[in-house]
Assembly symmetry: C3
Homo-oligomer: 265 residues x 3
């Protein structure tokens, strides 16, 4: 797997895939910067008048419902359908699903109509997606990642998507295989939009690598390794955000070789 | 008061109150990061379809009209009414009130229909709120904080809210008592959204402490102390923003004990 | 020209011009911070109900169509017309024009109805504006700046605006004269919204200096010099963003005197 991750990162830097993001207001700046730092080319566009044109020239579509509203949901679904038609991977981040009835309804609509290739959430979100009885508290997880693994497998099998549970250990599953990544740092949870950034970074890898389990594992490995290197020199969440972007720009094959903690469940 | 501030900070870190923000596009990232750094749990949600559900699970609601528009104002008022019904504190930031007729109208609507527990603004904004003849220049204050104190007391008495005037000295009043805090640094005015961040931080303290004068004083004290520590090591506004978040994460009882400059008017 | 740049910077810091921005979600925070760091006073407001009032008290209007949608475009045009009426300079950033048909249509509408004093884009955008056959890839340029110079001159002559092509060399033309600035650093392209920040900074200079060729040249010179100083001490794009804001705050006449690489074509 190490070689695949290194080669996928190389492909992102060489091909600079255009990643079309329909995402939330809170993280737009971070995720654009993360994609640029990594070597990809971000574009944010949500007008119903142009999302089909934009996704047509993109290598991946990232849909993030963090600050959703009616017009944006329409654009997400319209763009998602076009991406499906073109065979362009759709990466979906169901931020806060389970916190309100509206989020749960919208997440279901997006999964139904925009057929995501990858779904990434925290444990609460993944559990809420496959079981309407789970309540989430706002956008932060109240569940541990491993408690959500069965839900993730079920969701993967039902939707055909690779499902990622972010947490102290990240779990990535296609419903059968499970990849575990133990990189990262607790301070990542104190920077807003780190999960959303992971979803955008998956978009970059999915734009250059056809195997979604591999693309997603590579993205999560790079996130975790950059996070743990950045954390070493960070006095707090402010520095962490800055150092993390620097690491996405500087991460090397050596960093991956020496630090990757990847296993199969 | 020192003990109250330290214990309120401790409660924010232990309880991690969910703070529901309906705020402006410019500062969403900063205020989410400030709340996370402090130990609270931010959520940003503005869709009319979900604001009532979201505020129902929140410990405080922050309404900030920095980049207002029709749909957002509806959501602010709807969420505010639900918060009132639930007894959840509403913190209101009337950004730029007085700069345009629309802002003045909306601010009045929000105060009328969402009955804020706390209103925070700069001197120009507080004066504009209690006297329609004052004009503000965009979103930055043209008035000194102490010149607005009578307006603040009047506004507090009329609305029942604790009113904060941010400035070189912060004044916090319930219409009768006046708390003065002289912490902070001039460079805080060169970082966008520091006032909005103060409002969000008040939300976190109001979510754990029932006495609004104490909650608000604690929040403003923490803002000022973090600001002055961060300023010492900042070469400019860029570093200031980063160091400030680090300080919210790291501020200790010792910092508060040794630095607090609080008095009563 | 050096003396003009230094004196224009001094005027920005002394007069603190109010710059009204109707801009995109991705960069609002950066551009507000850049304007504050430079000494200007930013305001972001897009509600149709207030843009005319707001632009009336502003010294410049910045229109940036990075994350455009129907209501925002209406506000841009309404504000632009009022600015024209008042003789307030309009600075236009046609982000991503050429990437979708919608962006091309909107850019043409804005140029027609809001008569910009300055148009700033990358090479692809400037070429797309004066020739509908050029396709851009998202929001990053696929063309070199000098290849777009003829398009820029043509656009300047057709619209009466000063046109800026940002790139390794920045070209600024009124259709006849061409100013070239060779300051800056390649890492500026790895920070999102650096182009948008340039446009906002032009707004600040245009708010204090009536000659648009001089105002724009001064703005681009300050951007480039701050960028190259910031780059020296930046480990990556994260630090670059922070250091750049610090430099806007700290740039001195000496920095301009010793570093400016300005010539006439």
């Amino acid at each position: 797997m190490k070689e695949n991750i290194i080669s996928a990162l190389e492909k992102v830097r060489t091909n600079s895939p255009l990643v079309h993001n329909i995402t939330n207001y809170v993280v737009m700046n971070n995720t654009a910067n993360a994609l640029l730092s990594l070597g990809a080319s971000p574009v944010m566009a949500h007008a119903i008048e142009e999302v089909e044109d934009m996704v047509t020239i993109a290598s991946a579509l990232v849909i993030n419902m963090g600050t959703l509203s009616k017009n944006w949901v329409e654009a997400m679904i319209t763009a998602g359908k076009k991406a499906n038609e073109k065979g362009t991977p759709v990466i979906f981040d169901p931020v806060g699903v389970g916190a309100t009835a509206y989020r749960t309804t919208v997440a279901t609509q997006i999964i139904t109509h925009s057929k995501p290739s990858v779904i990434r959430g925290n444990a609460s979100e993944i559990m809420a997606l496959s079981n309407a009885n789970i309540k989430t508290k706002g956008v932060d997880s109240t569940q541990s990642a491993d408690s959500a693994l069965d839900s993730a497998k079920k969701l993967a099998n039902e939707t055909g998507a690779v499902v990622v549970i972010s947490g102290e250990t990240d779990f990535i599953t296609n419903g059968k295989d499970v990849v575990c990544i133990k990189n990262g740092s607790p301070i990542m949870t104190k920077v807003t939009g780190m999960g959303c950034t992971a979803t955008a970074v998956i978009g970059a890898f999915a734009g250059v690598e056809g195997n979604m389990l591999e693309a997603t594992s590579a993205a999560m490995a790079v996130m975790g390794i950059c996070g743990e290197i950045a954390a070493r020199e960070s006095k707090g969440p402010g520095s962490m955000q800055v150092n993390f972007l620097n690491q996405l720009y500087n991460i090397s094959a050596d960093d991956i070789n020496s630090r990757l903690k990847l296993s199969y469940e």
